[in-house]
């Protein structure tokens, strides 16, 4: 370390240190994503009374790596009609965007890369960009299945983003700040899942739709669209889409944890000595478990049902709750001081 500090000028040290931290976080995230796929297969297998992956390594623990190596070895196929540039750009964009939002997610007190004042807006902006990856993929592969899947996913994501934002607004009414760290700190006495329980449910339904997961996995409905927007993809580009989907699941669980489950705060103050990230990841795993269990138990919705739920049920409901929350907070004088 001494040698290092003499060799490298001071301003570069910080830069290198930060890069190192980011690289470490990225590697950890990717490993988490890989094991999320393993855990999902194991849980679904348990639900189906099967064994799941159990051949590669102890309890099949090396299965994710075997899958990754298999995908790396395969050939990347370009459809003849495909727009090559966009066809390659789409998975890269999806993958990058799904990891970018982690820059503003705090996993503990001051354990965050960039503690910006509009953190929640940054996450909303990045998640609204994610649609483009899918649309580009569907369009660039110039295949009917691909385009249909992409259009479906785009329509679905815009529809549910509206109610998601309204849910976030109702949380912001309690906290009076857009900063994610302060949102968690505002839950010191009371996690928002208790006063805002109906909104928590709406948020859960919304994130299932937003990540294109079952029971709203219409963009990739195997039975009708083969695989949807990534039907023409193979090898590593396909793996990027796959990883991005699971990274998005983790991101959305992290967001639910921050908004409703008190982030890194322990359930009771006596458990303060346990490191903060432990609680954060425990709560996140709970939501992820819910993701997997819902996939294992729920049938897929039809497309018109999906739209009906989004626009005719969730949107009026969450709008009503925002007004109710605002009114109640104003009546009891509980509105945060920054908002008056």
């Amino acid at each position: 370390m001494e040698l290092l500090s003499t060799l490298i000028p001071c301003e570069w040290q910080n830069f290198l240190l930060l890069s190192g931290r980011i690289a470490l976080a990225l590697v950890l995230l990717i490993v988490c994503v890989a094991y999320l796929t393993y855990v999902e297969r194991k849980i679904i297998a348990a639900v189906h009374l099967r064994r799941g992956p159990n051949v590669v390594g102890l309890f099949g623990l090396l299965q994710p790596f075997a899958d990754a190596i298999k995908l790396l070895h395969k050939e990347t196929i370009f459809p003849t009609q495909a727009k090559k540039g966009l066809f390659l750009l789409a998975p890269i964009l999806t993958f990058v965007l799904s990891f970018m939002a982690w820059a503003v997610i705090p996993i503990g007190q001051r354990l965050v890369f960039s503690d910006i004042s509009v953190g929640i807006l940054a996450i909303l902006a990045l998640s609204s960009l994610a649609v483009y990856g899918l649309l580009m993929a569907g369009w660039a592969s110039q295949s009917t299945y691909g385009i249909l899947g992409a259009l479906r996913s785009a329509a679905q994501m815009i529809s549910y983003e509206v109610s998601l934002s309204l849910v976030i607004v109702s949380v912001l009414l309690w906290t009076g700040t857009l900063n994610l760290t302060k949102i968690v700190e505002a839950q010191k006495d009371l996690w928002f899942v208790i006063p805002l329980f109906p909104m928590f449910i709406v948020f859960l339904i919304g994130i299932f739709a937003e990540t294109n997961r079952a029971p709203f996995d219409l963009p990739e409905a195997e039975a009708e669209l083969v695989a949807g927007y990534h039907v023409e993809y193979s090898s590593m580009p396909f793996a990027l889409f796959f990883l991005a989907e699971y990274a998005n699941m983790m991101l959305m669980s992290a967001l639910t944890t921050i908004l409703f489950l008190g982030g890194w705060l322990p359930p009771i103050d006596a458990l303060d000595w346990v490191p903060a990230p432990f609680w954060f990841f425990l709560k996140m795993s709970l939501i992820l478990f819910l993701f997997v269990m819902v996939r294992a138990t729920f049938p897929r919705f039809r497309y018109d049902q999906l739209m009906t739920i989004g626009w005719k049920v969730l949107l009026p409901f969450s709008l009503g709750w925002v007004i109710l929350t605002a009114g109640l907070l104003l009546m009891t004088g509980q509105l945060p001081k920054t908002m008056i």
Binding site: L86, I116, S117, V118, L121, A122, L124, A125, S128, L129, V131, Y132, L135, M136, G138, W139, I147, A150, L151, A154, A155, I158, E161, L178, D304, Q305, T308, T338
Partner: protein, 203 residues
């Protein structure tokens, strides 16, 4: 004057914004054009961040990139547009050109006026320590409250009009009535009959 990283970023992003805007006009393929437009929006948001207007930057991405451009792309993708090689780059028609000139001069006029108001009014408040998200909210819901509400009404009217224009009743479409489905009882669907041998039944 020293050339800082901020300057480099500013010139870089301005250059990319301009290139993307040109691309949006000149691309042969419409979808590529829209993607260029999105690139321009995105870089403009970057410029906002350089100006410390992070709220505007993210709203720009959420509204323009996440909704407006997305709907453009959505509509263009549902049409089957072939790669049209004959779509020549030609100079725009005269009325359009003059209209553009008028809009440009108006824009310069407004920006001048607005900047002066900005320098006089709101910028002095930023010393209070509140972020600019806070300041925008404060100005929007006090000073500009009436225009804001008016804007809401205009958008509502636009929404109602577009729904009324596009809504039509089609008797062939069969809608799901969840209440009826859930309310079904066994006796609505199933009747039991005693069938006598060699007689049969009629119902």
């Amino acid at each position: 004057m020293e050339f800082t990283w901020g300057d480099a970023l500013f010139y870089g992003m301005s250059f990319v914004t301009l290139c993307c805007a040109m691309g949006a006009l000149l691309m042969q393929n419409v979808v590529h054009g829209i993607l260029c437009l999105i690139g321009a929006f995105f870089n403009a948001a970057g410029l906002f961040i350089l100006l410390n207007a992070e709220f505007l930057a993210f709203v720009m991405i959420i509204v323009y990139v996440g909704a407006v451009a997305l709907l453009f792309l959505f509509i263009l993708m549902t049409f089957r547009i072939q790669d049209n090689k004959e779509r020549q780059v030609s100079f725009y028609k005269k009325p359009v050109f003059y209209g553009g000139l008028i809009l440009l001069s108006e824009m310069i006029f407004f920006i001048e006026g607005y900047l002066q108001g900005f320098r006089a009014g709101f910028l002095s408040e930023s010393g209070t320590g509140a972020g600019n998200t806070h300041l925008i909210g404060r100005v929007l819901y006090t000073h500009y409250f009436l225009p804001l509400q008016l804007l809401g009404v205009i958008l509502l009217v636009a929404m109602i009009v577009s729904i009324v224009l596009l809504w039509y009743e089609d008797n062939r479409v069969r809608k799901q009535k969840i209440k009826n489905q859930v309310g079904v009882q066994a006796k609505d669907r199933l009747t039991l009959h005693d069938v006598l041998s060699r007689k049969g039944i009629s119902f």
